[in-house]
């Protein structure tokens, strides 16, 4: 990383918080329209009923689950970068940690919407909470869906607190360079942080513990999500490899989304000497690694399906590669494992266009992986007479559009109103070189 002075770091990042141009607000507005479309579709579904979506017999789980897993997966990379790489003292994570952690908070929130969306009677969602009631009914903590409630709420809470704690010193830095209303707001948000040695002493410990606690949380949350499928006996779902396979896949898709976000951000905000090519390269190299893990899982599943000599298991995997949804399978293998291997070549991973395009390809592939697993499992189970197909309806497409729009909408708002790179950590990095 180039030798930046503290003043240069401050300047580069504070400059991004200047009042945005009209083109920014136009994009924000368009994204808001997307969110509105999604919300409208959801409201329509609440009034008419869950039948307006495509899930039915036998495929009772469709895009709502796919998107749920997709967004939780995206969230995991943010925690990997901000927490796990902090524990490994990998300094290259510093320029992207703030944006990655924000991506996590936004993605978990959106993921958390999908169980609500999937409920027909949303107004009864409070049934999921353990509270004493007249009929003495309690949630069944043996159910993986209830594990999900616990895990996702924990992840959302922990990520938000971690994100906010990380922001505190930066909020103070912005406060000290602001005037008027903005100064007042940031003064309140920064809790009166002064950078006193007493504050830093406890902060350092607290942040380390946050990172140390968030790490097992990342692994456990997506393992719990994978168990929504693996704890059932559905062929193609009931397999022990799911937990690490899903965690690796989550990190894979999340890293790709990090690239998708960071590359435009870096250009717009002129962060080229903060989010350097080395940082992007390291993300790309990690994507090769996670892509191979995911490929290993694909291969192992096929091998064991054959080894088991279980005709039902073999049929599920035969159909996956040759049946009605085989294109999803081809996208999955091509986009998740094979194409990212191009990052092995330095030329590819140092070309911005290639980085951006492959990151989109990986996210495309990872969405299809969830489709192949989820829809493939329910559509083609034990009894041939019960086999069926599934296709999303326009309402589901609308809600999906809403979720993607909401993600970018919130991220854009974040990027222009809060420091998108951690000034504090950048100064620490600059200091150590």
């Amino acid at each position: 990383m180039s030798q930046l002075t503290y003043a240069q770091i401050d300047q580069a990042i504070i400059n991004t918080l200047t009042p945005p141009r009209k083109s920014y607000w136009l994009i924000v507005f368009l994204l808001f329209c997307g969110v509105f479309v999604g919300a409208a579709c959801w409201v329509y579904q609440i009034f008419i009923g869950i039948g307006v979506a495509g899930q039915n017999n036998p495929a009772a789980w469709g895009t709502y689950l796919i998107n749920f897993v997709f967004w939780v997966g995206i969230a995991h990379s943010g925690t990997l970068i901000s927490a796990i790489l902090h524990l490994f003292r990998a300094g290259w994570r510093n320029p992207i940690a703030r944006a990655a952690e924000t991506m996590t908070v936004i993605a978990v929130s959106i993921a958390g919407l999908f169980p609500f969306i999937h409920l027909g009677r949303v107004w009864q969602v409070y049934y999921m909470l353990p509270y004493p009631n007249q009929r003495m009914l309690w949630p069944n903590f043996l159910s993986p869906l209830v594990f999900d409630v616990v895990a996702i709420s924990t992840y959302l809470t922990v990520s938000s607190l971690f994100w906010y704690t990380g922001l505190l010193p930066d909020l103070a830095a912005v406060r000290d360079r602001s005037t008027g209303l903005r100064r007042k707001i940031f003064k309140a948000l920064s809790f009166g942080w002064t950078g006193a040695h007493e504050q830093w002493r406890h902060y350092g410990r607290g942040y380390l513990f946050f990172a140390a606690l968030a790490t097992p949380l990342v692994i456990s949350v997506h393992s719990v999500v994978s168990w929504d499928f693996a704890l059932g006996i559905v062929p193609g779902w009931h397999t022990t490899i799911f937990a690490p396979y899903f965690v690796a896949g989550a990190i894979h898709s999340g890293l790709a989304m990090v690239l998708t976000l960071m590359i435009p951000l870096r250009t717009m905000f002129k962060y080229e000497n903060i989010i350097t090519m080395e940082v992007l390269e390291n993300v790309a190299k990690t994507i090769v690694f996670t892509g191979l893990i995911v490929g290993f899982a694909y291969g192992t599943e096929y091998f064991i399906a054959w080894y088991s000599h279980n005709s039902i298991e073999i049929e599920q995997f035969r159909w996956r590669a040759l049946g009605d949804y085989r294109w999803g399978f081809y996208f999955m293998v091509l986009c998740n494992t094979l194409l990212p291997l191009l990052f092995v070549f330095k030329k590819v991973r140092t070309t911005i266009f290639a980085l951006f395009v492959i990151s989109l390809i990986v996210n495309f592939g990872m969405w299809w992986e969830r489709f192949v697993i989820i829809v493939g499992g329910v559509a083609h189970g034990f009894s041939p007479h019960a086999w069926g197909l599934y296709a999303p309806t326009i309402i589901e497409y609308g809600i999906m559009l809403g979720s993607f729009s909401l993600f970018f909408f919130l991220f854009l708002l974040f990027a222009k109103h809060l420091p998108s790179v951690s000034m504090t950590e950048m100064k620490e990095t600059a200091h150590h070189e």
Partner: protein, 403 residues
């Protein structure tokens, strides 16, 4: 350059030489006696368990060096060098694998079973070919990686012959070009990591999972290689601890490095336990008899149940509780003891997984003095191999290396 007036870990420790040779001899004798006695299956079972355990330790320890290079870690210092020394066991491991063929009727319970079509995969020629080739590839890539890694460490002033001369010639041929050598290390290190995952998965499926030929677990391969890395790290910490105790500051090993590798060990303790639990919850919850019989045999019925809890206690609970404390990681004696206990736990875990497949409803655990002596015999072989490597390349235990 390396400082010479320092006792190498492998140095003049005559006691260590004597003990390791004695242990190996006793182990070999006990094993041979067992194979010729009334229960040859017990001797061969012990042989298989130890082959898997100690090969895994060696493969996992060398993996540390490759991974640290690939991630461009800067904290490791002499630890990367020490981890390379475990490659000394590779040739012996391959020979030990071939010897398994002699005991084939005892180590492959499926030989005499009706496999309903799996014979295509589970047959002796194919199994030995693929696993043998796999080990050759893994060890070959490992040695090639070391060929380059050692070029960065080799001290031309030390006498060189044989293997040392080979490395030195390579160093000269590469025109002392550090960048070129490191690029080769990246390629071969990356290939080693890939081969490690694939070959250890294969070994796990073929030699351990297949012992119960009608049981499957897709994560079993992953579980095998995580276990190998975990135990390899433990062995590395023991070697590092011994080096520190013997040479003090001259070993080049600092408190921070012990702290860091202790943390890595703790992390893999958790990961190993996680990979175990992840299989358990899926099988327990699905409650499918074809899967659960394996788990029930090992965790519900005696005598395996007590063994299961022992393994859990030694290799998870104990390291977990102890390693939460920060200071203990920097006390070499404590870490040596802890890692030794953990490795014993993993040894017992191998017995837990394979035992019920070999002996159905035994009166007591097939764990007696002969098994312990065979375990110690393999330990002796490992010590001899590591010492030989360090004696050939004392630079691996030295502080300075060209960077």
């Amino acid at each position: 350059m390396s400082e010479t007036p320092k006792k190498s870990v492998a140095g003049s420790g005559k006691a260590a030489v004597f003990v390791s040779i004695a242990l190996s001899t006793v182990g070999i004798v006990v094993f041979l006696a067992g194979t010729l006695g009334e229960h040859p299956e017990r001797a061969w079972q012990a042989y298989l368990i130890n082959f898997l355990l100690w090969s895994g330790i060696a493969q996992g320890a060398v993996l540390f060096s490759a991974v640290m290079h690939m991630t461009k870690a800067r904290w490791t210092g002499p630890l990367s060098g020490l981890s390379m020394a475990f490659a000394g066991f590779f040739p012996l491991s391959f020979v030990l694998f071939l010897v398994l063929f002699i005991g084939k009727s005892y180590v492959f319970p499926w030989l005499h079973e009706d496999l309903h079509g799996k014979e295509v995969w589970l047959n002796l020629p194919f199994l030995f070919t693929r696993d043998g080739v796999g080990l050759l590839i893994l060890y070959g890539i490992g040695f090639n990686y070391l060929y380059y890694a050692l070029q960065l460490k080799i001290d031309p002033n030390q006498p060189s012959s044989g293997l040392r001369a080979l490395v030195y010639k390579g160093w000269k041929r590469n025109n002392h070009n550090t960048g070129l050598i490191q690029r080769q290390m990246t390629i071969w290190g990356g290939l080693y990591i890939l081969a490690f995952t694939l070959v250890l998965s294969l070994i796990g499926f073929d030699l351990v999972m297949a012992a119960d030929p009608h049981w499957i677990s897709t994560l079993f391969g992953g579980y095998t290689f995580v276990k190998a890395f975990y135990s390899g790290l433990g062995a590395l910490i023991i070697l590092a601890g011994l080096s520190r105790l013997r040479n003090g500051e001259a070993s080049g090993l600092t408190r921070n490095q012990f702290h860091d590798i202790g943390k890595l060990f703790f992390a893999f303790c958790l990961l190993w336990a996680d990979f175990f639990y992840v299989q358990l919850i899926v099988i327990w919850y699905g409650n499918i008899p074809e899967e659960t019989h394996y788990v029930i045999a090992r965790t519900v019925t005696q005598p395996w149940r007590s063994l299961a809890w022992t393994v859990f206690g030694l290799s998870f609970i104990l390291p977990f509780i102890i390693l939460i404390n920060k200071k203990i990681k920097t006390v070499p004696v404590a870490m040596i003891v802890l890692c030794a206990i953990t490795i014993i736990g993993i040894w017992l875990e191998h017995l837990l997984l394979l035992g019920p497949a070999f002996s159905h409803e035994p009166a007591s655990l097939p764990l007696g003095l002969p098994e312990v002596l065979i375990f110690l015999g393999f330990l002796g072989l490992m010590v001899i191999s590591v010492r030989r490597f360090i004696r050939t390349f004392p630079e691996t235990a030295a502080v300075a290396a060209r960077s």
